[in-house]
Symmetry: C2
Subunit: 333 residues, 2 copies
């Protein structure tokens, strides 16, 4: 069996539904035979390792451990879905602080045990924030950390496909940038529907303005809808797309969707958010984003939302003030 | 995106954990873009379809329906994991009868809606029996129906790999035939460990007889162990392996493990059980099984166990007596 690389891929949160699917997906994509499953929850972790061994992926060498040092030592690539889920009685702030602290410890562990890691994909929510915290505490370069941000774009494609009764393949280059969900900025002008720009269709009989607004609500509520339908959070789609991202970072197939990336370009600064990117063996690169003036305005609003969330984490004391970031991670200006 | 075929693949039981993983696996393996998800439980089914659309598999055209006629019409390939799970208070006989009746209806539906289907893989338990019932009621040829039977063999490989501290790749051709679990016949002589036949190692210091007996118990209890560790039945491994089977039936990569197949060769007759097989575009073919005299004796015992189970289903009235099988399905002698 040919694999893309022999380097070590660590799945953090491998006992969970997303993590266990990520491990299977990575093996099925033949990314690397060298997969280490990490999770603090040992019994389920062992169960996942057993299941994957029972698949008998040719040439695979699956290891698992509840020891983070053992897991991360020698890691070349990491995908982390190891956040906590919101529990009854928790406020949004409780969840934010809990996962922010998990990201801080993860960043510190990366710095301590695998400073030579090549690329890290952060999946747990709010990923723009947990990714930013990971970047700062790990000491990695901005090009080495991305977050899963593609789901709003793929959900836009899916909703358009259903509404217009067209195969998804005829709806090309769906793009949302900035934050997630209600904070996302939809760039309708980038989407081509059967060859025509989506923004020239919105407001016509094909897609009246009112229906478009309702469609956007369905995109925003895509995750909530899965919970209602399946009785559990989505796990197949975040797992699959985040492994597509790490595949690109390994030098495999280019990733076709926006990714969350650290941005500091004058217009947007000291923030992690969904942008047009290119992910290659050399890491992630921010690409130009071009939309209509209204779309660019929407992206600015989305950026401002994210800045508020970031500032909340700073005021919690999980992140230092921005002018101290360089001390925490010299790769940050 | 290149797919192996454009023919319709139907996943029966697609709302469940095995079924939803099968659909993702089939798309990731690029088997066909033409996947229909069927399940009587509509909301979760729609949730699975949504998740798969959010993966944005290139070129995929995923449909879903709770209408079995709509699902099966035009089907070229079917994988069925749509059995019922054992519930509190149910006896083993209740479960057997329940799933036997589900298999009977499935067979009748295949005959009614897709008599031209090319291959059907049956996954739900007891698969030797549900597969047999499917074959008889569908009117298909014995070469067109297989059951998932590989897990005992892959679990044997996994347990040997762990016990001997060798990579799974050095433990080749693990084979169990006949029934599942306690009824399985382990053909240790077929397995090569680092080039040596396993049966020459059993009883030596490398693998003392007592340890081998304990190892076999772990293989038998592999499924139970997953439930204890993960708190749920295994789903990744049965999903992956059954899609490997249908891939072979589509003319893809050869399937590397035993499969459950209808056997009527004089020695074993009117039974579905795990045998050495070859699965190709022309269907499944039973291959010779060769073991030591003790192993062949074990296989005979396993066959006898299965005959009892089959006769139980006949006495329940779900299957007619063997001498009437030909009337039900002229492809059965």
């Amino acid at each position: 069996m040919e694999y893309l690389t022999n380097e070590k891929l660590v799945i953090v949160g491998a006992a969970g539904m997303i993590g266990s699917n990520m491990a299977q997906t990575a093996l099925m994509m033949h990314l690397t035979p060298n997969i280490c499953l990490y999770d603090p929850y040992g019994p389920a972790l062992e169960g996942v390792a057993e299941e994957l061994r029972h698949c008998a992926f040719e040439g695979a060498e699956i290891t698992f451990t509840t020891d983070v040092k053992e897991a991360l030592t020698g890691a070349a690539y990491i995908v982390n879905s190891g956040g906590a889920a919101r529990k009854a009685g928790m406020t949004r702030e409780d969840l934010l602080k809990g996962n922010a602290l998990i990201a801080e410890q993860f960043g510190k562990d990366v710095r301590a045990y695998c400073p030579d890691v090549k690329h890290v994909v952060v999946v747990f929510n709010p990923a723009d924030i947990t990714g930013l915290i990971t970047l700062l505490y790990s000491g990695l370069k901005p090009s080495q950390v991305t977050t899963l941000a593609a789901l709003d774009s793929t959900r836009l494609q899916s909703e358009l496909s259903k509404y217009l009764h067209l195969p998804a393949a005829e709806i090309v280059n769906c793009r949302t940038y900035g934050g997630h969900g209600e904070q996302m900025a939809v760039f309708a002008s980038t989407t081509k529907v059967d060859g025509k720009p989506l923004d020239t269709i919105i407001g016509t009989a094909t897609l009246p303005e009112k229906d478009w607004e309702e469609l956007k609500v369905r995109v925003i509520q895509g995750g909530k809808n899965i919970i209602e339908l399946r009785g559990r959070s989505s796990f197949q789609s975040p797992a699959y797309l985040s492994i597509e991202m790490i595949a690109a970072a390994m030098g495999g197939k280019p990733f076709r969707w926006p990714a969350g990336v650290y941005v500091d370009n004058g217009k947007f600064s000291h923030i992690m958010m969904a942008m047009e990117t290119s992910i290659t063996k050399n890491g992630v690169e921010v690409m130009p984003v071009k939309g209509t003036p209204a779309e660019e305005k929407e992206l600015e609003k989305s950026y401002e939302h994210l800045c508020k969330l970031r500032d909340e984490v700073i005021s919690m004391g999980v992140l230092p003030p921005i002018d101290k970031w360089h001390e925490l991670n010299p790769n940050i200006r």
